[in-house]
């Protein structure tokens, strides 16, 4: 069992490292998107899978980080590290504030409130044209200037490895958290908050920290996104984005480490191929979601997991 797990992991990462060499820049770009959403989905999984808190507003931290970094880049800061730090910090501020407001609710309420809050941010991005350029968004953002690292990120493949670096860090971090005392506590709170409080755990603090942690990784994804596309717009804060990443987590299977990655990779590929074949890609995507949830209500990864890899649960 264990050798199989190690082998699969090795194969997976080897592919991630080696494939771009053989693919055209279009497909490498696609892989970059997969990595970005992989990080984004894993970050949301902290809330959905490990805390049992279904957030429909996760685009908030993603978009705020993207806008902040993009804005600074356009202002001529010419220093990726400063731009990114600002993006992360502002995103964490948003997470800290939202956390206070939303963690007083659960379930359906939590869903609605996270949705509403992030849509408000969308509205601000839409209307605050002086800073965000409204519906046009911020564009013509150049690839990051790494200052002391001589890497030319204008090359798609180079940017891919740049993104891969963060993806690996994020995955390792998630793994550590999942297996840590903190991670186990989160899962316990997800299963029964009353039981955990009775045991002596301050459930709220854990959920709050998890919320901020989730925001942190979402901001990384957002920053990678804005530099890759060279663009950020209100849609990055819109419910459609929040829903997309939530769907990735649900479809892949919440609560496991692999599930969200499978969901993210899968949906990015699906969207891309379907839109290549038909104009009615939105309809097809919707139908696929509907059918998927009817036949695999807990996500598509768990049945796969159950059938073959029982021990991949982390």
């Amino acid at each position: 069992m264990k050798p199989l797990k190690t082998v699969t992991t090795l194969v997976f990462f080897s592919l991630l490292v080696a494939l771009p060499i053989f693919l055209s820049s279009y497909y490498v770009g696609l892989m970059i998107l997969m990595l970005i959403f992989g990080i984004f989905a894993m970050s949301l999984n902290i809330l959905v899978g490990y805390c049992g808190l279904p957030s429909l507003g996760h685009a908030a931290c993603f978009g705020v980080a993207a806008y902040t970094s993009g804005f600074l880049a356009l202002k001529g800061v010419h220093n990726f590290w400063l731009e990114a730090a600002a993006g992360v910090i502002l995103s964490l501020v948003v997470a800290a504030i939202f956390g206070f407001l939303v963690l007083r609710t659960r379930g359906v309420y939590f869903l609605m409130i996270t949705l509403a809050l992030s849509q408000v941010l969308w509205g601000i991005a839409f209307k605050w044209t002086s800073v965000t350029h409204g519906d046009d968004g911020l564009s013509a953002i150049l690839r990051p200037d790494l200052v002391f690292i001589p890497l030319d990120l204008f090359n798609t493949t180079a940017y891919y490895y740049f993104a891969l670096f963060f993806f690996i860090i994020a995955t390792v971090a998630m793994l550590l958290v999942a297996q840590s005392p903190f991670g186990l506590t989160l899962k316990g709170i997800r299963d029964s908050e009353t039981r955990m409080r009775t045991l002596g755990y301050n459930a709220w603090i854990y959920q709050y920290v998890a919320f901020i942690l989730a925001g942190f990784f979402a901001s990384i994804a957002g920053i990678l996104s804005v530099y890759y596309h060279g663009y950020v717009g209100p849609s990055d804060l819109h419910i459609v984005t929040s829903a997309k990443v939530l769907l990735m987590v649900i479809l892949g299977g919440a609560g496991t480490l692999i599930g969200p990655i499978v969901g993210a990779f899968g949906i990015v590929l699906l969207e891309n191929f379907i839109s290549g074949y038909t104009e009615r890609w939105l309809l097809l995507l919707g139908l696929i979601y509907v059918l998927a949830i009817i036949f695999a209500p807990q996500g598509i990864y768990p049945p796969i997991k159950r059938k073959v890899y029982k021990w991949l649960t982390l």
Binding site: P181, G188, L213, G255
Partner: protein, 265 residues
């Protein structure tokens, strides 16, 4: 009488604790127009085994919720180990040394038996916030968990998801989890409900063997179990404390008999 006093004094000297584990003064609880509890006063001595009995709906579980902090009383005072716990959140009361089981088994269903025990053990440890090290690297924690699981015969189930266990096994696990925390005040809510005779015997044995410095308040309907395990009883009926005394006294109390016979519909 003299023996009893010197026994108590010995206990006090042994543990250095003079504060009563639980003192409830005039606690009432209303839900809208429903008076669930009315002027309950109760106090436990260190190491005492007390049963809380009464017909269904008497308010016993509500009282447990109020003691553990899940519900706030409408009026009255609660002192746990000498501390007024007014507004003290559930988890802080647990830190004082209160552990409880629930009427409806409340475990962490998707987690394994081992994980449930680990969570019980690490609840008051500072490293429960650690995010960067795998929990398996905490040697002493695992050793203690193993010790507990082996003692209670659960070691072979350690990787089983709790929801796959039988009802009886789950109930036992809940008690083990409470005991693992070495509580000073243990609240057991109908631990033998729904159990087969052999499971009941097993749980009763478990409770009988509790360390003598653990104070226990037990809600139970099975009178055989009650009379076997406790020194004193408090009888609740329609939210009021109607009788309190030793097992003999209560067994012969007319009011209590009327309540039970009367409610045997």
């Amino acid at each position: 009488m003299v023996n009893f006093i010197s026994l108590k004094a010995t206990r006090v000297l042994e543990t250095g604790k003079s504060a009563s584990p639980l003192v409830i003064t005039n606690v009432s609880k209303t839900f809208g127009r429903l008076q669930a509890l009315d002027g309950i006063s109760l106090s436990l001595m260190h190491g005492e085994r007390r049963a809380l009995i009464g017909p269904n709906g008497a308010g016993k579980t509500t009282l447990f919720h109020i003691i553990s902090g899940i519900l706030a009383p409408s009026s009255g005072k609660i002192l746990i180990l000498g501390q007024d716990v007014f507004r003290l959140p559930v988890h802080k009361r647990a830190a004082l040394g209160v552990a409880r089981t629930f009427q409806i088994t409340n475990l962490l269903p998707t987690l394994s038996v081992l994980e449930n025990i680990l969570l019980s053990l690490q609840a008051h440890e500072p490293y429960r916030f650690v995010m960067y090290r795998p929990i398996s690297s905490f040697g002493p924690l695992f050793l203690r968990a193993r010790e507990i699981l082996v003692t209670w015969g659960l070691w072979e189930w350690r990787d089983t998801e709790v929801r796959s266990l039988s009802y009886g096994e789950q109930r036992e696990l809940e008690i083990v989890m409470a005991l693992a925390q070495r509580p000073k005040l243990l609240l057991l809510d109908e631990p033998t409900s729904g159990l087969s005779p052999s499971e009941t015997a097993s749980v009763t044995r478990m409770i009988r063997n509790l360390p003598r410095d653990v104070t226990m308040l037990l809600i139970e309907h099975d009178m055989d179990v009650v009379f076997d395990l406790v020194d004193r009883l408090s009888v609740l009926h329609l939210g009021r404390l109607v009788a309190e005394g030793s097992t003999e006294e209560i067994r012969q109390d007319r009011t209590v008999q009327k309540i039970y016979l009367g409610s045997q519909a």
